[in-house]
Amino acid sequence: MNAPITIARQGTGMPQPIRQSEEIQKLKGTLLKDIQRSAYVYRVDCGGCNGCEIEIFASITPLFDAERFGIKVVASPRHADILLFTGAVTRAMRMPAIRSYEAAPDPKICVSYGACGCGGGIFHDMYCVWGGSDKIVPIDVYIPGCPPTPAATIYGFAMALGLLNQKLKATSHVQGESERVKLRHPGVPAELRVLIEREARRMAGYRMGADIADDFLGILGTKSSESLEARIQEYLAKENDPRLSEIVTNLCDISMKAIAAN
């Protein structure tokens, strides 16, 4: 049962990823063209943080219900059609992962799940990490995310089974001749902008603060027949959030002081 597994090595002595023979690839193609049965999933943990596992199980709960498409998580690789590799492939989990790959019957679909599976994620440069499941087995579908949401998981499964098409494409841009960056909020003096951004970030944190400052500067910078106060009141009434009201009142004070000083 546990026959020794021999792995081809490169010239440098590093093990090569396992390759699929052409016959098996052809077999997989014919299976995917006319799949008339459930697809069973076995998840292979190659040293992940368990975040991905939680999302996989979230996607088979009644709310997302992957089982209505016949996608079922099974307990043994010998039952599996789809192998889900999660985790960054640590040195210790590499052989168990290869073993479960060998144990699954052909034709099998391999899926790289999560940021760690796709390229090592946050652990990509650690000494004991192989950096992605494509370094050990042939991968058919990559599902990025940290972890992927249940909806992204279902989309990935549908792509693996050839039911949905890929949306993402690689892009490449080369700087044009007269390419120039647009300044943000050109109507507001730079010093005032800095003061407002600083105060908003102090009160609401870095990301939300930047969003609030952006909204406020947008209102401040646009010219309108209505008074500034009326427009801000309108904005606050729309958002209806006492925390936002307090922050924006502070921002108003700062801008009034700056305008009075000039």
Binding site: A115, C118, G120, A190, Y206
Partner: protein, 184 residues
């Protein structure tokens, strides 16, 4: 039994219709980082902030280019790039359908030109970053004369700036020490 059926009918269907209908996504959802290369000044703040090094910057001074690259496979969708971007060239969208069959489709890149120092002619900073600095200076309300004076400064590399400030300033004594250091 009938009561049970009534309850079931009243409760309705909890399962989401996805993938047949779009999945509901909350307001602050952090999905695929949407990059606008036209708005990017190639300052590299995102590459420094990125925890898993999904965003990288590579300078090729011999070719006069600076390349920004995002590998979505490593991205953990933390939104730090959005936080630090001074021009909002990168913003996290609500897109989550990112699965690909080919790993190459997870890469995005953009190439920018590097400006040469006005003094020594060596490449020193992305051209768009220099132009942006001048534009911000104009926005502060500086008059045309000041902008022209500062432009020279902004288009000069730090090495030349140091030398020039020693030449032009009244710190001639300092220059002597600099030359002595070179001889030693």
């Amino acid at each position: 039994m009938l009561k049970l059926f009534k309850t079931i009918l009243k409760t309705g269907d909890a399962t989401l219709k996805y993938p047949f209908a779009p999945a509901p996504v909350c307001d602050n959802f952090r999905g695929k980082p949407e990059y606008t290369p036209e708005q990017c000044i190639a300052c590299g703040a995102c590459a420094v902030a990125c925890p898993p090094n999904a965003i990288t910057m590579k300078a090729r001074p011999e070719a006069g280019t600076h390349t920004w690259e995002l590998f979505l496979g490593n991205c953990i969708f933390c939104g730090r790039c959005e936080e630090v971007c001074p021009t909002k060239a990168i913003v996290l969208s609500k897109e989550f359908e990112l699965a690909v069959g080919n790993k190459a489709d997870l890469y995005q890149n953009a190439t920018f030109r590097i400006a040469n120092c006005a003094c020594c002619g060596k490449p020193f900073a992305p051209q768009k970053a220099v132009e942006y600095a001048i534009d911000v200076l104009k926005q502060t309300g500086a008059n045309a004369q000041v902008v022209e004076e500062r432009r020279k400064l902004l288009e000069t590399c730090s090495d030349c700036k140091r030398k020039q400030s020693i030449h032009a300033g009244e710190m001639i004594e300092l220059r002597r020490y600099l030359d002595e250091g070179k001889d030693a």
